[in-house]
């Protein structure tokens, strides 16, 4: 496949064959070499062939092979001619990240670190097969899916101010839980307020470096060694079921003939099925917002109990990593509303966008990029340039380079815990095997990913945080 170098960190697959637009990849030579080793580029090309795709198909610096769309894929579709695809969002709908600040320093929590982590581990149900403490009726669950984080706040989890510092204010208005299957609701009912497993985590972190003091201050990050808490999880079985349900419904309705990859199945945005998927997906997005809202509340309660106060534990932001939504973008000089798919990508809106909270509107939105277990995570700020370069999107994490199977063969969970402890990082997990699978060596270098985001201008570095305590699902 022809790959044209546009500049140091930008590559293009020129439009050819059935492609309706070119595909653009943001990567260093090193990251690109990784991407060439799997099917990412072919998948980006497939996305560029979809009906109604606008401008270009984009691939973020942390991209790797997914299903249908690559992970780290961003694409926008015309509302009349375009499509919506469950494979363009992913199975873990609104898998995302929430960041809380604290006014504690590392020194303040040094002798209480173990206890903080143990208490969080106790309060937040994690791991597969662990139901939540909140048992919901069908009517309540539908309310969660309609109101998202608003439901959680109204029910005593967290504060009103958290909502405005959440993407979509913690609630996608278009959600309609009446389109959810019985199975989706059944899977969701016991799982609200649970972390899940896999790569999901809660981390107590400290700020290790500030790159942009002015922006950091606006985000509530004031000094090196400041303690932060990062929560990474999604919509659990409810979201997974929505994706599986609509892939099946779309296959049965439209057939799979002519699709280069069955996971690219899609429906016209204007079709009944497209509409139902969008509203069901939005319901799953809301479930995930409520989920993170509840977990954040429990984390604050733990700090209150262990440290004596949770004052100053304001939410910095909460971002979606897997979502489709309608946004206005300038395309060929004209502002138009399009259906954006971000699959393993973070919205990265710059100053002035009305979608971002007023307090951040002068500087741009916070972009939260978690690293792998035991490594750094980053806080970036969205840019206006990103709107031109990637429909206002950037990377979402480190991205795996090694299969879980291989990681389990090479690493031992107990050993990893020891190594982390030597670095001053506490670790709690429901399983050693799952710790081995999440070994940082199984991931790309997140430092390189954010550097490319910064250099390409699709998300600028604000601060680096490193873990001091990790709870793995």
């Amino acid at each position: 496949m022809e790959l044209k170098r546009i500049d140091a960190n930008t590559w293009e697959i020129p439009k050819h064959a059935d492609m309706k637009v070119p595909a653009v990849i943001y990567a260093s030579e090193k990251l690109l070499a990784g991407v060439k080793g799997d099917k990412t580029l072919q998948q980006a090309k497939n996305v560029a062939c979809l009906r109604g795709i606008q401008r270009k198909a984009y691939v973020m610096p942390d991209a790797h092979q997914g299903y249908g769309f690559p992970i780290g894929g961003v694409a926008a579709f015309d509302l009349e001619e375009g499509i919506i695809s469950p494979g363009g969002v992913g199975y873990d709908i609104n898998c995302g990240v929430r960041l809380l600040k604290t006014d504690y320093t590392e020194q303040d929590i040094l002798d209480k670190k173990k206890l903080l982590l143990a208490e969080i581990f106790k309060e937040v149900p994690a791991g597969v097969g662990k139901g939540g403490t909140t048992r919901l009726s069908r009517r309540e669950l539908e309310e969660v899916c309609t109101k998202g984080a608003e439901w959680a706040v109204a029910n005593g989890y967290g504060m009103k101010q958290d909502l405005q510092k959440t993407e979509e204010n913690g609630r996608m208005e278009e959600a309609d839980p009446s389109f959810l299957s019985q199975r989706a609701l059944e899977r969701g009912a016991p799982q609200l307020g649970t972390l899940g497993a896999g790569n999901h985590f809660i981390e107590i972190q400290k700020v290790s470096e500030i790159f942009d003091f002015d922006v950091a201050k606006v985000f509530g990050i004031h000094s090196v060694d400041q303690i932060m808490v990062m929560i990474h999880c999604g919509s659990r079985g409810l979201g997974h079921q929505v994706a599986s349900d609509y892939i099946r419904l779309m296959e049965n309705k439209f057939g799979i003939r002519g699709l280069p990859d069955r996971e690219l199945i899609n429906a016209p945005i204007l079709s009944d099925l497209g509409n139902r998927y969008y509203k069901s997906m939005s319901a799953a997005v809301n479930f995930a917002f409520a989920n993170r809202q509840m977990i954040a509340h429990w984390v604050r309660q733990v700090f209150q109990k262990v440290m004596g106060s949770s004052e100053g534990m304001d939410q910095v932001y909460d971002v979606c990593h897997n979502v489709a939504k309608f946004e206005q973008h300038t395309i060929e000089g004209r502002v138009k509303k399009v259906c954006i798919h971000r699959k393993g990508a973070t919205r990265s809106f710059g100053p002035g966008r009305r979608e971002i909270p007023e307090i951040y509107r002068e500087v741009g939105q916070p972009v939260l990029i978690p690293g792998s277990m035991g490594t750094a995570s980053y806080i970036l700020v969205g840019t206006s340039k990103a709107e031109e370069l990637s429909f206002g999107s950037t990377a979402h994490g480190a991205g795996r380079v090694m299969s879980r199977h291989e990681a389990r063969r090479r690493f031992r969970g107990e050993k990893i815990k020891e190594e982390l402890e030597q670095k001053g990082i506490e670790l709690r997990s429901t399983s050693w095997r799952s710790v081995a699978e999440e070994a940082s060596q199984a991931y790309k270098d997140v430092d390189e990913v954010v550097r490319i985001s910064h250099e390409a201008g699709i998300g600028q570095l604000v601060a680096k945080v490193v873990p001091v305590g990790v709870m793995k699902g």
């Binding site: 199975y91 791991g127 097969g129 199975r183 896999g198 599986s244 049965n252 199977h405 095997r433």
Partner: protein
């Protein structure tokens, strides 16, 4: 008769075919399952999925759940069948120990599958070490003639 069955089992075990095998796949779990029949191959694929989350060999077979799924084609049938494991885990904390009596049927172009899941309800006594978000169509392959084989990628 029982002698014959025993000797068959012994000779079978000497050349025992592996039930499933995992492959390198960057972010996910890709496996192939094998069997003497397509039905057995599907049953082994169920064990492969279970093996990503718990050790199915250690699961006591205390309860039985009868499972019926449908599909427009074999691929959809297989995906729906394997999804059943995830659904039962999420809704009933059910851990699969074996998938028995698998039968496949084709009616008017649509497929249906019946199986008996045997296993246990999780109450903290087994190690749960992974998570499977979904069964995907990515790189799905079904050899429905001998040698039987199915290939599946699970999103984990």
């Amino acid at each position: 008769m029982s002698f014959l069955r025993d000797s068959y089992c012994r000779s079978f075990s000497r050349v025992r075919m592996e039930k499933y095998k995992f492959f390198h796949h960057t972010a996910d779990a890709k496996f192939q399952a094998f069997g003497q029949t397509l039905e057995e191959t599907f049953a082994h694929a169920a064990l492969a999925v279970a093996s990503l989350i718990w050790d199915w060999e250690k699961i006591a077979k205390n309860i039985e759940i009868s499972v019926t799924v449908e599909g427009k084609d074999l691929e959809q049938l297989l995906v729906n069948f394997l999804e059943e494991i995830l659904y039962l885990l999420d809704t009933r904390n059910f851990l699969l120990g074996s998938a028995d009596n698998v039968s496949l049927e084709k009616n008017d172009g649509d497929w249906s599958l019946h199986a008996l899941f045997r296993g246990d309800v999780y109450a903290g006594e087994y190690e749960i070490y992974g998570d499977v978000k979904a069964i995907t169509y990515n790189e799905i392959v079904i050899n429905d003639q001998a040698p039987f084989m199915v290939q599946v990628v699970a999103d984990i």
